[in-house]
Amino acid sequence: MRGFLRRDLDLMIPNLKIYGGIFAIMLVVSFFTSLGLDFFAIYACIFTFSGMLGLFSYDEANHWQAYAAAAPNGRRSQVEARYALAFLFSGGVTLVLLIADLVSPDGRGMMGMPFFYGGLGLVYAAVAMPLCYRFGVNRGRVFLLVIVALSAVLGAVGSIAGMAGGGEADFPVWLGLLLLGAGILANLISRGISVRIMARKEL
C-alpha cells in the first residue's frame, strides 16, 4: 500500500500547494472580516476531495488501475491507499481548523465544527469512491456536485433558522465528534465495498 499512497501524494502535492495557498488567504480574511472561518472550511473540504477525484482521472488517463492490478496484491492495495489518503486529508482539515478556532477570538464556541468538517470530508470520500471505482470518475464528480449543492442548501437553511432563533448557536464538540465518528464508520464500510468492486472489476 505504501507505494500506491506515495504515488497518490506525489500527484496531489502540486494541487495541495494551490489549495493550501487559497486556504491560507481565507484564514487571514476570516480574521479581519465578519465572515467566520467555517464559511471557508467547506471550500477546503471541496478542494481537497475534488483533488482526490482528480486522482481517478489520472488513473483513467494512464490505465493505471490495470497496471496496478498486475502488481502483487495490487487491486486491494490501490484501494486501501486511496482511503488512507482520505483519512490523511480529513485529519489535516480537522487539525488546521482546530488550530484556527483555538486562536480565533470567536472560535471557542464552535469547537465542534472542525470535527464536523473532517467527518463531512470522510462522508464525501465514502460515497464518491465506490462510485468512481464502479462507474468511473465522471459519475463521481456528478455526485460531488450534488452533495455540495445539498450541503449549501442545508447550510443556508441552518443559517436562516439560526438567525430566526436570535443569533448563532454554539456547535458543541460532542456533536462534531459524533459526525466525525459517523464519517470514519462510513469510510470503513465504503472501503470494504470498493475492495470488493475492484476485486471483480474487468480492467
Binding site: G3, R7, A70, N73
Partner: protein
C-alpha cells in the same frame, strides 16, 4: 519449472468479440511472440494471463503458480506508459519501491542511465520511445523472471526498437527467465522469438517453433494457370492480381517434391499474417 507460462483452453467472451480455446506454453529461457492483426485478441490473452481480466474458462499458470502469487516475479510492460505525465522519472522509482517487494532502486538507476532517461524530467517531457524505455526499466528493476510485453515496440523508431530488443535478449541470458511479447511488427519478433503464436479473430491459427514454421511455409509467385494446378490443401491463402498470383504454401518439402518447376521463396511471419488475414481462401 518446465514452463514459465502455460495457458490451456483459455476462453473469454465479450459479446462482440471472443477469445476461443487459446492454448500456449513458454518454456524457460525462451521468447514467445504473440502476433496478430489489431483486435485479434493479443492484449486480451495477456490481460487474462495477468489477472487484469477474468477468464471465462481455461487454465493459466505463471511460473508454476496460479493466481496472484506469481505476480511478484512478473514484469509487465503495457502498450501505453502507465505513469502519469505529472510525475518525475525519479518519483516513479520511489513509489514503485513500495509496490513491488523485489524492487532494486540501484538497478532502476542503472537502467535510467543505460537508457539515457533523465531522473529529474517529468514523464510528460519524454518522447514515446523514452516513455517505453521507462516502462521497461520499471519492469526490469524488480528482478522479474517473466517479462510480459504488450505491443512494447509499436510506434518506436528502428534504432530504439533494436536497442530494446537487445535488452530483451540480455534478460534471457538467465535460463530461468522467459518473455511473452505481443506485437504486430512481425520483423521484430522474427529477430528474437523462439516460439510464435498467431492469433486471428480470437483463435490460434498457427503456432509452433519459429524456425520450424518458417521452414514449413513458403511463398509462391506464379501465374493463375500454375496456381490452379496446385493441390488446394497445400495453399493456406492466395492473392490474385492483374499480372499473376501469390500464395502461401504449407508443407514446403511436399510441395517442392510435387511441383519442382514452381519456385518457392522463404515465407516471413508477415506473409503468414497477411495471407491468413487478407488472402483469398484457397
Amino acid at each position: 519449472m518446465e514452463y514459465a507460462v502455460k495457458i490451456d483452453h483459455l476462453c473469454k467472451d465479450f459479446g462482440s468479440f471472443s477469445l476461443k480455446d487459446v492454448s500456449l506454453a513458454i518454456p524457460g529461457g525462451t521468447i514467445l511472440g504473440l502476433i496478430g492483426e489489431n483486435g485479434a485478441g493479443k492484449s486480451t490473452v495477456i490481460k487474462c494471463l495477468l489477472g487484469i481480466l477474468r477468464r471465462d474458462s481455461g487454465e493459466v499458470s505463471v511460473l508454476g503458480q496460479e493466481g496472484e502469487a506469481a505476480l511478484t516475479e512478473v514484469g509487465y510492460v503495457p502498450d501505453e506508459c502507465p505513469f502519469s505525465d505529472a510525475l518525475r522519472v525519479k518519483q516513479v522509482g520511489k513509489f514503485l519501491g513500495g509496490v513491488f517487494p523485489g524492487w532494486d532502486e540501484t538497478l532502476f538507476g542503472h537502467y535510467l542511465e543505460k537508457f539515457d532517461l533523465p531522473a529529474e524530467k517529468k514523464v510528460k517531457e519524454l518522447s514515446r520511445g523514452m516513455k517505453m524505455k521507462l516502462s521497461i526499466a520499471a519492469a526490469l528493476a524488480h528482478r522479474p523472471k517473466l517479462l510480459v510485453l504488450d505491443e512494447a515496440t509499436s510506434g518506436l523508431d528502428p534504432v530504439i526498437r533494436d536497442e530494446i530488443l537487445d535488452e530483451f535478449l540480455a534478460f534471457l541470458s538467465d535460463e530461468d527467465h522467459a518473455i511473452l511479447i505481443s506485437s504486430h511488427i512481425t520483423s521484430d519478433l522474427e529477430k528474437i522469438c523462439d516460439w510464435v503464436v498467431y492469433l486471428h479473430r480470437g483463435e490460434v491459427t498457427v503456432s509452433g517453433a519459429k524456425d520450424e514454421l518458417l521452414d514449413n511455409y513458403g511463398k509462391l509467385s506464379c501465374s493463375r494457370a500454375d496456381l490452379s494446378r496446385v493441390e488446394p490443401a497445400l495453399v493456406v491463402g492466395k492473392r490474385t492480381g492483374e499480372f499473376g498470383c501469390q500464395a502461401l504454401i504449407r508443407d514446403r518439402a511436399v510441395f517442392q517434391q510435387a511441383y519442382p518447376d514452381l519456385p518457392l521463396d522463404p515465407a516471413s511471419l508477415e506473409d503468414l499474417m497477411i495471407f491468413t488475414t487478407r488472402g483469398d481462401r484457397a
